[in-house]
Amino acid sequence: MNPAILALEDGTVFEGRAFGALTERSGEVVFNTSLTGYQEIFTDPSYAGQIVVLTYPQIGNYGANDEDMESARPFIEGLAVRDFSPMVSNWRSDQAADAFLKLHNIPIIDSIDTRKLVRHLRTRGVMRGVLSSISTDVKGLIDKARNIPSMAGLDLATRVSTAVSYPWTSGVEPCSPSERVRAASGPAYHVVAYDFGIKRNILRRLVTSGCQVTVVPSGAKAEDVLGLRPDGIFLSNGPGDPEPLEAQAAEVQKLIGKAPMFGICLGHQILGLAMGGRTYKLKFGHRGGNHPVLNKRTNKVEITAQNHGFAVDPDSISDAVAEITHVNLNDQTVEGLRHKSEPVFCVQYHPEAAPGPHDSLYLFDDFIRLMQEHKK
């Protein structure tokens, strides 16, 4: 078994065993606390530029399959785990998680003390790192970690977005003969979805909720979007810092009021910017499937899937423009906004789940209802 090294910019080094591809990759080292859903995490474009540490120690147990892809390929730069299983046991699995990541040239470091690493990131904040299964030059790796670009100020959304527009037509398929998926009778609304790194389950959920979806690149102009005569506009999740996305925010600003608009994650942050707000970087972000979010309108708590390193500053949002609809109960950060006068709303977390709980699927219905009202 080959050795692997994860070196952080502050000089902290973890030595473990190599799985996946024998290679060297670098990125921002972040942790995710989900117990399940590693394949969705690997393939979520929001993780572009990041080495992901999974806090749950047994990873790889159920392999990988074609249905649980959140994009065409994995986007993580590397994976750090406590105990990686080369063996797979699940009826839906097509291949081992190891082979899957190897195919996409992504390295895995296993057997490291992930809890120590997470505690380190929690106290010091996320930092840059290099994961190498080809070099044992610890000092060299630390130097490399110090020289990779910082996530703040980085426009990764443009990098991961689609180059051309395309239609999306498949909905959510049941994963078992026992799963019931509540599907609308057919497409009733045309939704144009900005791809800042969009997860497929958002697209699937839109289709299942009764939408015909056109995905457009992150650089799409407002007039081109309107030219598609959308019933609704969707702003997707995506990687990186929202602040550099000034151009996108400007286009979104033009679209406010033109059609009902729904944003998720980076889409929410861009809407925040478009409504005159600011964003800031969280110390170690929110990544996991267990975050309690209070919906202030219903006064109910949703258990949510989250994956973000930046947040909208509540003080920057004018009461006159938007209302804060959702709040994270762990740290009181902004989780949802709704425009005061226009049919625009967005959430910081991931109602489409994948991975994560389904408590917030109602937001897709809300979007449909908004389009319905607006169409009248």
């Binding site: 117990l35 806090t55 997470v118 026992s178 996991g288 975050h291 309690p292």
Partner: protein, 1077 residues
């Protein structure tokens, strides 16, 4: 929605005695509920018949009733206390059933008591299998095809339609009592007949088998605002077919992708909402077909359960505590997470370790019982362990079981048996899986026969391979890297020592030299995302220690490990009290235990909790980290005592009685010498280390003799031999002995009265806390005998002698803390049978009867205080005997209904799982209540059946006459009947089983006999007698097997006729004492 202000006084019903399927997990949940509600300013009225629980401590509730859990007594308590609400969900199935019964009897309405937690409709929907199936169909969740039948024909018809195998579950029984798997028509006959009998409503659910499917459990919580969370998912190592209480289980689920997990999560929440559980915790069980993912709901429990206790310990999320708060109106987001302090309880815990639970069985105590695991739970306890990986977790769990050093001979593993042992689940299956891998079997081969998920099997195989690979190393050659790798995968020092043929302490020394030492990680509910303020720890071989020991003065308490017969909740009671006492005496308390059911493993009980196996290695690791000023070993039963001397040798300071003196009391030769010096008589005795020596000693002492191994608790493998053949057979077949562990042989005192004494000693003064007179005579294990405080049949002179001997022995052994002595009185002479200078099984009973907190004072003494310091808590006494204000009877509860084919006769080997206490103004009343609580209520009228051996005949006449005087009818077998008739008593003659029909068994079945008094001459029990005793158990007719108990029964029967239903709270009984405390 904050706390409700319209209710003030809340009634909590506990789960009663420890039985299989309902153990101390409900002491844990009940204690949490009491604490949470009291902390919130509610008045708590608690009822539980089990005195060994922490929850029945007078401090935990405002009113504590140790009274029978029956509708008439509960009605009386409700009438007296007038609670505003009844919390139905923390007292197990017993609490839930009684809540329903009280509601249906109109008692709750009559006294204006609101049911909180779960409403009647929800309970019924969840418990009634047909209603449940309908509810599930409504929300689109599949259940296995099934039908409720009330007769045999219904069963046959269903079998024809669906085919075998079939699962049978009687309605409204606990822990799957009476259920089973029918593979053919013959099985169906047996199980259905039994099930229809056992179900209180005469119903059995027959179900399509989903044997071999993957089995999961989800622990769910919901508040009044409909906020729902999953606390924990659990995956069973053993697939469907084995009761979840008998399955090895793992948290969280290991082999589900997120899609599948979320499907199950959605299903759980839908289930909870449809059943209508307004508030609290529930448990939903699922089965998934490993071939295509088809999922069915198996069942749901609308209350806290064994699994919720496990989930609470596994995640650090206190389900019962939160459930209690939700029941009084709080929302999940209004409750703080104790561990992180900054985040709310409204979230789903995430963990960064793996938790494994393994059940603990004791089939060896029930020879003749069916060892196959099925739908009826048979384990008596369980262990849980936490590891960073499944391998580490499983290895620690196996160590926690303490099955390594057995006093009895075990069947060696046999290669030819592997296929059979893998196919049919028994307690031995895991051992056989390990054995198969050791012999080179593949994962596929084992999977083929077990259907255990291949992922689990591979982990097990890799562990076995790793252990084997260490043979290539040696103590001298092993590298730090290899050592670390082995430790990270759970290999113990002992295991390595075994491979290299060296002592485990040598491995330990080498390991430390290599720099490979254990660290401690925290259970924090959040996988380190937030800081944890609760030192709830487990060991690992990671790189960073989070123990952060304080520099306070601290004491470590070693717990009792898994519940076993003979070592149960009583010891957990003592350990918890030790912890509370340490805190009160300004010491930090550190608890070490591995039993997830207990109060001691609640992170709230001690200042610091180490959830670890109780092995020398693990305890030394904690000691090295914490450096406590003392370690307490005398409260956790035999488990910590086995560690006491090795720990002392390793330099660990043991406080209280010196382990050498504890050991001396166990050492027959040394102790015999001591008694001789003290001029205290004991039955003539000797020791033997060979078959011949045993026969020689027994012959010299004279038969009958009591033979037993040394160093065991609960009379394990103890027997009374009336002849040499029995001794010979026993030595050859039953017991393990060696030069270090000789077999002990005592002259057995027939028909002697046995007495248990608990006392406190500071080394100089000795206070007798209780002198308990056994109702069963000597020869019946003390744990299986009812006993009474104060004694009422022992003369003043004998009491004085008992007191005198106790004091002399306590002084001679320099006892600091608690000591228990067993005496036998025969023909006016007092003999010492056994001395245990440690906490005994009876400590909680005595504490409750006297109102004196014995363990607390014992801890004070261990810390150097004197008895005089506690006089104010001890009725002003520092010597003599404590007074008891009323009559208190402790009665045992037996699991015979779970072990078919076992002769329920009592003997020197303990077989009861739990105990109850009855309180009364007179002995009869207390005994009647205790018998009622123990599940064998004495009848108020009807026919008493008497069949006694020759030597009991004269006593039997007296007993019969008194029953007749009270208005009972008499029936007897031929010999006894002619005797009774000769004495002028009216009596019906009944056939023995082989004499014709209808015989005694038929009459028992038909409900014609209400009480059976059945004694044997003690040599062998004949099949005829066994059949009658079994029938009595099966048809729930109280069966008395000793004359002393028969005499007690007469007094109880008289009380039933004479005394009204009356109840006393412990606070009321001990009013005077409480005031001075």
């Amino acid at each position: 929605m904050p706390r409700r202000t319209d209710i003030h006084r809340i009634l909590i019903i506990g789960s009663g005695p420890i039985i299989i399927g309902q153990a101390c997990e409900f002491d844990y949940s009940g204690t949490q509920a009491c604490k949470a509600l009291k902390a919130d300013g509610f008045e708590v009225v608690l009822v539980n018949s089990n005195p060994a629980t922490i929850m029945t401590d007078p401090e935990l509730a405002d009113r504590t009733y140790v009274e029978p859990l029956s509708v008439p007594y509960l009605t009386e308590i409700i009438k007296k206390e007038r609670p505003d609400a009844l919390l139905s969900t923390v007292g197990g199935q017993t609490g839930l059933n009684l809540s329903v019964a009280l509601a249906e009897a109109g008692v709750l309405d009559e006294y204006g008591v609101e049911l909180i937690g779960a409403k009647i409709d929800s309970i019924k929907k969840a418990e009634d299998r047909l209603l449940f199936k309908d509810a599930m169909r409504k929300i689109g969740l599949a259940t296995p095809t099934s039908q409720l039948v009330t007769d045999m024909k219904g069963g046959y018809d269903f079998a024809e339609r669906v085919g075998y195998p079939l699962i049978l579950r009687p309605s409204f029984t606990m822990g799957g009592t009476g259920g089973g798997i029918a593979y053919n028509a013959e099985d169906l006959d047996t199980i259905l007949t039994r099930g229809l009998d056992l179900s209180p409503v005469g119903e059995v659910l027959i179900e399509e088998s989903v044997l071999g499917w993957k089995e999961y459990e989800m622990e769910v919580m919901r508040d009044l605002a409909d906020n729902c969370i999953i606390v924990c998912s659990i995956e069973n190592f053993d697939p469907m077919g084995v009761h979840t209480g008998d399955s090895i289980t793992v948290a969280p689920a290991q082999t589900l992708s997120d899609r599948e997990y979320q499907m199950m999560r959605d299903g759980s929440l839908a289930c909870l909402r449809e059943i209508g559980v307004d508030t609290g915790g529930s448990n939903v069980q699922f089965a998934i077909n490993p071939k295509d993912g088809r999922m069915v709901v198996v069942e749901m429990n609308p209350r806290v359960s064994r699994s919720s206790a496990l989930a609470s310990k596994a995640t650090g999320f206190p389900i019962a505590k939160i459930a209690a708060k939700l029941a009084v109106g709080y929302r999940l987001d209004e409750i703080r997470n104790d561990i992180t302090r900054v985040t709310p309880a409204c979230f789903e815990p995430t963990i960064d370790y793996v938790v494994t639970k393994i059940p603990r069985w004791q089939f060896e105590k029930f020879p003749g019982s069916d060892p196959v695991l099925g739908t009826q739970m048979k384990s008596v306890g369980e262990v849980m362990s936490i590891g960073r990986t499944f391998k580490q977790s499983l290895a620690k769990a196996i160590r926690s079981l303490e099955t390594g050093k057995s006093a009895t001979k075990e069947e060696p593993l046999d290669e030819s048996l592997i296929p059979a042992k893998l196919i049919t689940p028994t307690a031995e299956r895991l051992n056989y899986i390990l054995f198969a891998f050791d012999l080179g079997w593949s994962v596929d081969q084992v999977f083929e026969l077990t259907n255990i998920d291949p992922w689990f099997l591979l982990q097990v195989k890799e562990s076995v391979d790793l252990n084997k690979s260490l043979a290539a190393e040696s103590l001298e050659t092993i590298s730090a890297a290899t050592m670390r790798h082995a430790k990270r995968n759970g290999v113990s020092d002992t295991a390595m020592g075994r491979v290299w043929n060296v002592d485990s302490l040598a491995v330990r020394a080498k390991r430390k030299e290599l720099g490979v030492t254990a660290v401690f990680n925290r259970v924090d509910t959040c996988a380190a995302e937030f800081e944890s303020f609760t030192p709830y720890l487990y060991s690992s071989y990671e790189s960073e220690c989070e123990a952060e020991p304080s520099d306070r003065k601290k004491v470590m308490i070693l717990g009792a490990g898994p519940n076993r017969i003979g070592q149960g909740i009583e010891f957990d009671y003592c350990c918890c009290h030790a912890s509370f006492a340490l805190q009160e005496f300004d010491h930090e308390s550190i608890m070490v235990n591995c039993n997830p059911e207990t109060v001691s493993t609640d992170y709230d009980t001690s200042d610091r909790l180490y959830f670890e196996p109780l092995t020398l290695e693990e305890v030394l690791n904690i000691y090295d980290t914490e450096k406590p000023v003392g370690v307490i070993v005398q409260f956790g039963g035999q488990t910590p005592l086995n560690l006491a001397l090795p720990l002392q040798r390793a330099g660990v300071p043991i406080i209280g009685t010196d382990p050498k003196n504890i050991d001396l009391a166990e050492d027959r030769k040394l102790f015999g010498k001591l008694l001789e010096e003290l001029e205290i008589p004991c039955p003539p005795n000797g020791t033997a280390t060979s078959v011949e020596e045993a026969c020689e000693v027994a012959g010299r002492l004279g038969y009958p003799v009591l033979v037993r191994p040394s160093y065991v608790l609960g009379g394990r493998a103890m027997t009374i031999a009336y002849d040499e053949d029995t001794v010979r057979r026993y030595m050859r077949e039953a017991v393990v002995f060696s030069q270090d562990r000789p077999v002990l042989i005592d002259r057995f005192l027939e028909d002697a009265v046995e007495v248990d004494v608990d006392c406190l000693s500071d080394g100089e003064n000795v206070l007798i806390a209780g002198i308990m007179e056994h109702i069963e005579e000597a020869g019946i294990h003390s744990g299986d005998s009812s006993c009474v405080l104060p004694p009422f049949g022992i003369g003043a002179l004998e009491l004085q002698t008992i007191q005198d001997y106790s004091v002399r022995m306590a002084r001679a052994l320099h006892v600091i803390g608690l000591m228990n002595v067993q005496f036998a009185i025969k023909e006016g002479k007092v003999y010492v049978i056994e001395v245990n200078p440690r906490a005994s099984r009876t400590v909680p009973f005595v504490a409750k009867a006297t109102g004196v907190p014995l363990p607390k004072i014992a801890v004070g003494l261990m810390l150097g205080k004197k008895l005089t310091d506690f006089a104010h808590m001890m009725q002003g006494k520092t010597s003599g005997v404590l007074d008891v204000p009323q009559f208190f009877v402790k009665s045992p509860v037996f699991p015979f209904n779970k072990f078919h084919g076992v002769d329920p006769v009592l003997g020197p080997e303990m077989r009861s799982t739990g105990e109850v206490m009855g309180v009364g103004e007179n002995f009869g009343e207390a005994f009647a209540k205790a018998q009622l609580s123990a599940g064998s209520p004495l009848p108020a009228d009807g026919t008493v059946f008497i069949s006694v051996s020759d030597r009991h005949k004269s006593e039997a006449v007296e007993v019969a006459r008194r029953f007749a005087d009270l208005g009972y009818q008499l029936a007897a077998t031929r010999g006894t009947a002619s005797l009774l008739k000769a004495a002028g008593l009216e009596c019906v003659t009944v056939f023995k089983v082989n004499e014709g029909r209808p015989n005694a068994v038929d009459l028992l079945k038909a409900g014609k006999l209400k009480l059976a008094i059945y004694t044997t001459n003690g040599v062998h029990s004949f099949s005829d007698e066994k059949a009658i005793r079994r029938a009595a158990i099966q048809y729930r007719v109280p069966c008395i097997t000793t004359m002393s108990a028969a005499r007690a029964a007469v007094q109880a029967a008289a009380s039933r006729r004479r005394d009204p239903i009356r109840v006393w709270s412990l606070q009321q009984i001990h009013k005077g004492i409480a005031a001075t405390r």
